[in-house]
Amino acid sequence: MDIADLSALLGEDLGAANTADVWVALPAAPSGGELALVGEARRLADGLGCYVHAVVGDEAAAQAAIASGADRAHVTADSAAFLAGQQPEFVLLPATHDALAAGLAQRLQAGLITDVRGSLAIEPDTRALLAPRPVYSGEYYLDLAVTSAVKMATVDTRGWSAPAADASRSGEVTLSELPAPAERWQDLGACDYQPPAWRPLSKARIIVAAGRGVHDADGLALAAQLAQTLGAELAGDRSARDSDWVDEAHEVGVTGQEVAPELYVAVGIRGDTIHNAAITGARKVIAIHSDAAAPIFKIADVGVAAEPKELLPKLLAALK
C-alpha cells in the first residue's frame, strides 16, 4: 500500500497537505534519469512523512511519475505558472531547466540551488534543504543550505538510471486548465553569425596538449608531430599559453577550455589544479613528464616518467 492509499483510507485530503510536500517538475517526455528525480523526491518525502507531487506535461508522463514514486501527478501546459499557484515547500527540477527554475524561484521568493551533484538532504530541525553544487568546473563543491519558506533545487540527473517502475502504484492525476505560456520572442530568421574561428577543443575527440616540460620550439614540434600522427588537436596548458605556443582557444584549463575528449595526451604538463579540473571529462588520460612526482600522474590512466624530448622520437617511431 502506498501513502496515497493510506491517506484515502484515513479520509485525508491529499491536496490539503500541499504546503509541506515535495514537488517535482518534469519536462515533456522525461528521460529515465529525470524520472529518477521522482524517486529522490520520494526518499525525501518518506523522511518527512509527506507526499510527492509531480508536475508534468501529459498523461503518459503522469503515469510514469506515479509508477516512479509520485502520489499525485498534475498535468499542465505551464508548469511554472501552475507551481507558482501552489505554495509548495520543496520543489525539484532537472538541471536542464535551470532558467525555468530560477524564474519560478523569484516568483515564489524561494532560495534555489542549481546543478546539484549527488544527493539532497533535509535538515531535521530547520527543514533546510541541503545540497552540494560544483564550482570552478567541478574542482570542488560548495555545500549549500536553503532556509527560505520555499526551497528549490535543480539536480544534474545525467548518469542516473531509470527507477524501477512499480505499475501497481496508484495515484491521482489532475488536469490543469492553464494555457501554454505565450512566446515572448519573435524569430527574425537565420543569421550570418560565425563563432570565433577555431575548432572548439571541447568537441575534439583526441587532444595532444603540451606544457612547459617540452622546453622549447623543438619539443613543441615533436608534440605537434604526435598530434598529427594521432589525428589530434594540438593544445597546451596555461604555461604554453604564457609562452605563446597556443592561443586562448587552445588553452586547456579552467581559465581556458574545458575538454572531454576520448583520449587526452599530456606532454610535459605538470598538471596543476586548474589544468586537471578541466580534463575531468576525458575518457582516457596519457601523461608524459620528466618528474615522476608531477601531479598529472595522479590522474593519468597511463603515465611515463621520461623527458618528452627524448621519449617522443622513440614513440613516433613505434607508432609508424
Binding site: G111, Y136, A300, V304, L311
Partner: protein, 253 residues
C-alpha cells in the same frame, strides 16, 4: 539603446589549488578576475555600435576593480554598488539590488550577464531578474545586434545548430555564452588613468537604492566545501620498452 552589463569578480583559479586528499582549498594568491562569461557579455554589449554600455558590479574593492577594467575596455558608464566583501549576496539579494539599479538608471533596453559563473551559484540571477522585471529572458545568446528598424536583436542557436536572430520587441535580459566572442583588450595605461579619475566609477550605497541589509538576508548560505573523489593513477610505464607499450596504449585508445 542602453545596455546594462552585469560583471562579477571571481577568484582567479590560478591563485589557488585544491587538494582533494586533504579536503582543502589552498589560496596561494589573492587575485580576482572578471568572470569569464561576463567578459563575453561585456564584449557582446560593446559590439553594438549604436548602443551605450553601462557596467554594474556589486561588492567590495574587487567589484570596483572589474568596473575600471570595463571602463578601460570601452563601457561608457560604470556603477559600483558598494557592499562588504565579507557578506556576499545570494542570487535573490543580487536580483533585488539589480532591479533597483535599473530603476535608478531609468532606461535600460537590454541586460546582459554571463550564462555561467565560475565560483558561486549566481548564474540564476539573469532569469530571476527577468522574472522580477517581468521581462523575457533568453538563455544562451551569442551576439547582440542593433536591428535596422529599431531595437536590439539577439543571436541564438536553434536546435538544428544554425544561428537565428530573435527579438523581444522590448526590454529583455539575456545570458551570454562563454567564448562566443573574443573580448577586447583593456589597455593597462587606461586602467591606471581611470584609477586617478574619481568619477570613472559611480558609487551607490544600498541606502541610496532604498534597500537595507536585512532586506537582502540570504535564503541560501554556504555551509562548507566538499570534494569529488580523486581520479587515480592507472599504470606507470618504465624501461626501454616504455615507448612501445605507450604506442600500444595509444593505438588501443
Amino acid at each position: 539603446m542602453n545596455i546594462l552589463v552585469v560583471l562579477r569578480a571571481v577568484r582567479d583559479p590560478a591563485g589557488f589549488t585544491v587538494n582533494r586528499k586533504a579536503q582543502k582549498v589552498f589560496i596561494n594568491r589573492e587575485r580576482f578576475i572578471i568572470n569569464p562569461a561576463d567578459r563575453n557579455a561585456l564584449e557582446a554589449g560593446l559590439q553594438v555600435t549604436a548602443g551605450s554600455v553601462t557596467a554594474v558590479a556589486l561588492g567590495g574593492e574587487t567589484a570596483g576593480e572589474v568596473l575600471r577594467q570595463a571602463r578601460a575596455a570601452g563601457a561608457a558608464r560604470a556603477i559600483w554598488v558598494r557592499l562588504p566583501d565579507a557578506a556576499p549576496l545570494d542570487a535573490g539579494g543580487a536580483t533585488a539590488v539589480l532591479q533597483r539599479v535599473i530603476g535608478h538608471i531609468g532606461s535600460v533596453d537590454l541586460v546582459l550577464l554571463g550564462a555561467e559563473v565560475l565560483d558561486a551559484d549566481l548564474a540564476q540571477v539573469g532569469p530571476r531578474l527577468a522574472a522580477a522585471l517581468d521581462w523575457p529572458f533568453m538563455e544562451e545568446v551569442y551576439q547582440t545586434r542593433a536591428l535596422p528598424e529599431a531595437g536590439l536583436g539577439l543571436v541564438v542557436r536553434a536546435a538544428a545548430g544554425e544561428y537565428r536572430l530573435a527579438s523581444a520587441g522590448g526590454p529583455a535580459v539575456a545570458g551570454v555564452v562563454r567564448d562566443c566572442n573574443k573580448p577586447r583588450f583593456a589597455p593597462a595605461a587606461r586602467i591606471i588613468t581611470l584609477y586617478q579619475d574619481p568619477r570613472a566609477v559611480e558609487q551607490l550605497s544600498l541606502a541610496e537604492l532604498g534597500l537595507d541589509e536585512p532586506q537582502l538576508s540570504p535564503a541560501t548560505t554556504i555551509r562548507g566545501e566538499s570534494f569529488p573523489p580523486e581520479r587515480t593513477l592507472g599504470q606507470m610505464l618504465a624501461g626501454d620498452d616504455a615507448p612501445h607499450e605507450l604506442a600500444r596504449a595509444l593505438k588501443e585508445s
